[in-house]
């Protein structure tokens, strides 16, 4: 049972290193179809679908890297997993400037002991 993944203790982890093996690809395709149904994603053409699948695979690897860099959180597939980092920044963020206006009012220092 453990080999065919029925065992709940065995969690399939997509390993970003070996992108050539067919079982990895089928795992990625499986993740992608779960992603599309969970977040109700549909694409206008087969070409767009295939492109979004390639972005999704790259984001799976990014999630694995984020998990390694940030082990106290859990990282994985989110509703943004078919967006490139640039699309994510443009479509989902939106902080205009990187510093505060010079005339910004400074808050008074508050007591923090006792």
């Amino acid at each position: 049972d453990a080999l065919n993944g029925d065992d709940p203790l065995i969690r399939e982890v997509v390993d970003g290193q070996d992108a050539s093996s067919s079982n990895l690809l089928s795992a990625e395709q499986h993740h992608f179809s779960l992603f599309k149904s969970k977040f109700k994603k549909s694409y206008g053409s087969q070409e767009e679908h295939d492109y979004r699948f390639s972005v999704f695979k790259a984001n799976l690897r990014r999630a694995a890297r984020h998990q390694a860099l940030d082990p106290t959180a859990s990282h994985g597939v989110t509703q943004f997993s078919d967006l490139t980092p640039a699309e994510f920044r443009k479509q989902v963020l939106g902080l205009r400037r990187l510093r505060l206006p010079k005339d910004a009012n400074e808050a008074p220092i508050l007591p923090t002991s006792d």
């Binding site: 959180a73 479509q91 963020l93 902080l95 220092i109 508050l110």
Partner: protein, 232 residues
């Protein structure tokens, strides 16, 4: 300062909202802070209109002419407070609902103002001062680098390396003294952040990030706002 603090437990935080495919995070951060301040001033929690900021706020930073608030193309919470102060306040969400686009004209109605800004200021890059302002003045508008948030699912985020180049605006609603992290086998104090990507993202729409070393720039641009004490 209390060990743990959470404005959600005190009724000062409204439901998680969703900015959709529009770079309007700055308006959600600003309304969240003013909703909290209005609650502290009047005891009333009112959902305020981000769309009014998206459509009507084109406030600029006098030092940087090309840095005006621009709807889905970005903005800054402090400029949003400045606009709101000058315009006379924000309308309720229900009177000026969010569309997630910035092609509309400004439909601000001065007679339907629900909350007014009395003043706003910037909190120094000091975690105790941030915590003290949070406890005293309500939820704070903060900026952060969101690179790890694209893949975040839950837990206390504490990346070993994270750029402090700020690109997202969110709302600081509380802090916890110890979020247990099995991997590092020790407790980690963390900030509790309300995001604007819907309830299905993160922990029911919220994000936890560790305190202590300005991780992802979270301590770098913190603003507090006070509301005028009138009921709408």
């Amino acid at each position: 300062l209390p060990e743990d603090f959470d404005w959600r437990d005190k009724g000062a935080v409204g439901p998680v909202k969703n900015q959709g495919s529009c770079g309007s995070c700055w308006s959600f951060s600003a309304t969240g802070a003013l909703e909290g301040a209005h609650f502290l001033a009047t005891g009333e929690l009112v959902s305020l209109s981000e769309q009014q900021l998206v459509d009507c706020d084109h406030e600029c930073d006098p030092e940087e002419p090309d840095s005006c608030d621009s709807g889905c193309n970005g903005g800054l919470m402090n400029s949003a407070f400045e606009y709101t102060f000058k315009a006379g306040g924000l309308m309720r969400e229900e009177d000026y609902p969010y569309t997630g686009t910035d092609r509309g004209t400004c439909k601000f109605d001065k007679n339907k103002v629900a909350a007014r800004v009395a003043n706003f200021s910037v909190v120094s890059l000091d975690e105790d001062q941030i915590a003290a302002n949070l406890v005293k003045n309500g939820p704070l508008a903060v900026a952060i680098n969101a690179v790890f948030m694209q893949t975040y699912i839950g837990g206390v985020s504490c990346p070993y390396i994270c750029s402090r180049r700020l690109d997202h605006g969110v709302l600081l609603v509380g802090y916890g003294s110890a979020g247990y992290s099995p991997i590092r086998m020790k407790d980690k104090p963390y900030w509790i952040i309300k995001n604007s990507w819907g309830e299905k993202w993160g922990e029911n729409g919220f994000y936890k990030i560790c305190r202590g070393r300005n991780v992802c720039g979270v301590d770098s641009m913190v603003s507090t706002v006070a509301a005028v004490q009138t009921t709408s």
